[in-house]
Symmetry: C2
């Protein structure tokens, strides 16, 4: 027995503990993330990175273990994880956890679902394992810290790989010793750079994480001997990958009882996350007051100055640029354009005269006293009346409200039948096997359920700012 | 066109240049490495890491594209590269290049062979592509520098991945732009830590490199968009992975004309590389003088002091420990025990009385003025006579002598029929297709050609000192 805490050992014990039962509140959020992820995945099916990885899977073929969304035949679990991970992050419309600045669902749900399907696990066991894996990613991500991220590593891919390993290993019944080996294998396999942002490499990084996790668990189950202390050992993953490693106690605090995963953020606007707080503040003002776009003389959006270099394209001309424009998305919100819908962000909308006129009355300001997650909005009316609003994404949203908003998002992304089938998972999961869940999503994928007519600007070129 | 040199661009142009013809002297060395690699691969077939990765491949199955040594059916190229890479490095008896301190053949030949088989390329095209990939690994490895290695990254895996990408991409006919994309994909996929040394993770790292290279080339061929400057860009592979990046001009000097690969070192003793120079010095003394073990009063081995912490187990008791003992291997060499044979390194040999007696008359000394590759040996006879010898692995060995020694090594590792079939590749390659080469090796693997009876100590636990 160890006498000192170790990140690898503690996470391995957590991940392999058969008596661990996640809290119901964490499970409820995990179900929201499952629905959110499934919708983003199905909506991203036709993206180039989804097509390319699917073609690779089709070429390689192999054992019919797991569903690959958009492919008519099943493939090996490792490959399903790779391709489903990449396609579900292609639109960058999936959830984000700010404790480690990573996208947990796209890296870990594909790994867990593929392995659960291979194992014939129950849907409840699948989601518990995924939740425990996502929690492991949060904790290891906290231990690696922002230094790891700022150095250039994509936490979605790196911490995500360790989370995927835990989820896959748990579903395969690895004991603590084998789970340590699986994590050790993952330390030499995990990769993913932020310099890929803006290319297909960003969504692919999520697939890499998922596939690496499945592979590590499969090898450990067969007796592969790696290091049992691969994260913290001399020249281990933490040291070699610019890990902070200063707050081990914090990273492990409450592990097994508290699920940090509950604080995951779902995206409710199909644009850069830096725009969301402002859009939420505007939505609150709109809900409280009857705003007439024509009577607005000016708008001032104030955010942390870091966003000024990220999503402040003053006069966008393409749908992609629109996703990075405070001024245009503010105009959209005031004019009642649906900022949650993918097809909103078109080249055409950039030249709509009424929006351009509104856009040119928006001023964007930086204020370093604001957290990254917050925005202030000040409206001036032509009659001199002023309105102020503010929003912080970090403020807790009641579960019922999160559920409603995710339902609206799923319905905006998918055709009605597909949307309702996915939303039915919230209450129906306990009666299903993982195979049924995967096959249901697979059938929906093959019937092209995406509600959005993709604009030509929709692509894999996602934000340099996103996590 | 670029106006400044870039490592990614230059290597991509080099790798994709259809008019590039390697020198005959480099090709001759590449053929030696092919034979050396094939023998190490077949001898390593029964190692645990080989079995485990083969089982994974057997489970996944899939398109019959490429031969996996030891498996009766073909598998997808990416998987053949993974498993053949791991098994060929399992014994750590393959070649090393000290320009980047990595094992080129085990990372790059499996990738090139698998893709050449998929493409139906000629054996000559296969070996040229592999040679060009191995050269790319040397050059990128030099650019990443010893700082990258000393930070904890396993150059066999990292630079090896880029070399495998070039080899695979060349065989798939990627143009320069697509080759840049392939290298860009590889930058977000490449991984491999030195902290895995002493575990199955070390040989697995070679397989990772090979599989990542095949994957990157396959994706780039399908139009995957990554970064065209992935090695050198802001937060690219070089910056994030502790790359030195100070000698770009040196890394690219003579590229296309000079093949650094020619200086690759083949292992002629089945033990830690730190012991080789001393064993060579002893062999030269034995060849020049008739040494009688019984008449030797003492031996002093002098090497660079860094080896004292690596392979200086004074009184080994297991076959594995014997591979890291100056004193015992010196006794073996003096007593005429074959240090090239795998089966030599057994638990039993550690307690052979005559060897223990000789061993106890060996003294090991460090001298920081010696390069890592050199050793001095001083023999004192019971009659007072003294003999001095020295050897530096870095001194050029004539091609004919290298060929002879590799032939002897191949014959010591494999059953006669297998050995001769592999040695016939040296002159016969030009008449073959890559498929024939791969299938020949595959048939030999299935007929269990290993000459060695594996000692129980033989395992994947390889040297912490090895590259």
């Amino acid at each position: 027995m160890e006498t000192t805490l170790s990140i690898t050992g503690s996470i391995a014990r957590f991940g392999s503990d058969p008596s661990l039962v996640p809290t119901e509140s964490a499970r409820a959020v995990a179900r929201l993330s499952l629905m959110d992820w499934a919708a983003a995945a199905l909506a991203g099916l036709d993206e180039p990175v989804a097509r390319i990885t699917r073609e690779l899977a089709d070429e390689e073929a192999g054992a019919a273990q797991a569903t690959l969304f958009g492919l008519a035949r099943k493939v090996p679990a490792r490959m399903a994880a790779l391709a489903n991970g990449a396609l579900s992050h292609a639109l960058d419309y999936d959830d984000t956890h700010f404790a480690y600045v990573g996208h947990p669902s796209v890296a870990i749900l594909p790994a867990a679902l593929a392995v659960a399907e291979r194992q014939g696990a129950s849907a409840a066991a699948f989601l518990d394992a995924a939740l425990i894996g996502m929690e492991a990613a949060c904790r290891i991500g906290h231990w690696l810290g922002t230094q790891h991220y700022n150095h250039g590593f994509h936490q979605t891919a790196t911490s995500g790989c360790f989370g995927a390993t835990v989820a896959a290993g748990r579903l395969m019944g690895l004991d603590t010793a084998a789970m340590r080996q699986a994590l050790g294998i993952a330390t030499t396999r995990a990769s993913g750079l932020k310099s890929q942002f803006g290319t297909m490499g960003k969504p692919f990084n999520a697939g890499i994480a998922a596939a690496n996790g499945v592979e590590a668990a499969l090898l450990a189950a067969r007796g592969f001997v790696s290091r049992p202390d691969g994260l913290e050992c001399l020249q281990g993953f933490g040291e070699t990958h610019a890990g902070e490693r200063t707050d081990l106690a914090g990273a492990l605090a409450g592990l097994g009882n508290d699920f940090w995963f509950e604080q995951v953020q779902h995206k409710f606007h199909a644009c850069c996350h830096g725009l969301h707080a402002g859009l939420e503040a505007l939505a609150a003002l709109k809900a409280a007051h009857h705003l007439q776009p024509g009577s607005i003389a000016g708008v001032t959006i104030t955010i942390n100055p870091r966003w000024l270099r990220v999503c402040n394209i003053a006069s966008p001309t393409t749908g992609l640029e629109a996703k990075f424009s405070y001024r245009l998305t503010t105009a959209m919100a005031l004019a009642g354009v649906e900022t949650a819908a993918l097809q909103t962000y078109s080249d055409a909308i950039c030249s709509r005269p009424d929006l351009m006129a509104l856009r040119d009355r928006v001023v964007v300001r930086g204020d370093a006293s604001l957290p990254d997650t917050a925005a202030r909005v000040a409206l001036q009316h032509t009659d001199g009346r002023a309105l102020d609003g503010a929003f912080d994404l970090d403020q807790p949203m009641p579960l019922s409200q999160r559920r409603e908003r995710i339902a609206a998002k799923v319905r905006s992304l998918l055709a009605p039948q597909a949307a309702e089938a996915i939303l039915a998972l919230d209450s129906g999961l306990g009666r299903l096997g993982a195979i049924q869940v995967a096959e249901t999503l697979g059938r929906l994928a093959l019937s092209h359920p995406c509600a959005a007519v993709m604009s030509p600007a929709s692509s894999d070129r996602s934000s340099h700012a996103s996590a």
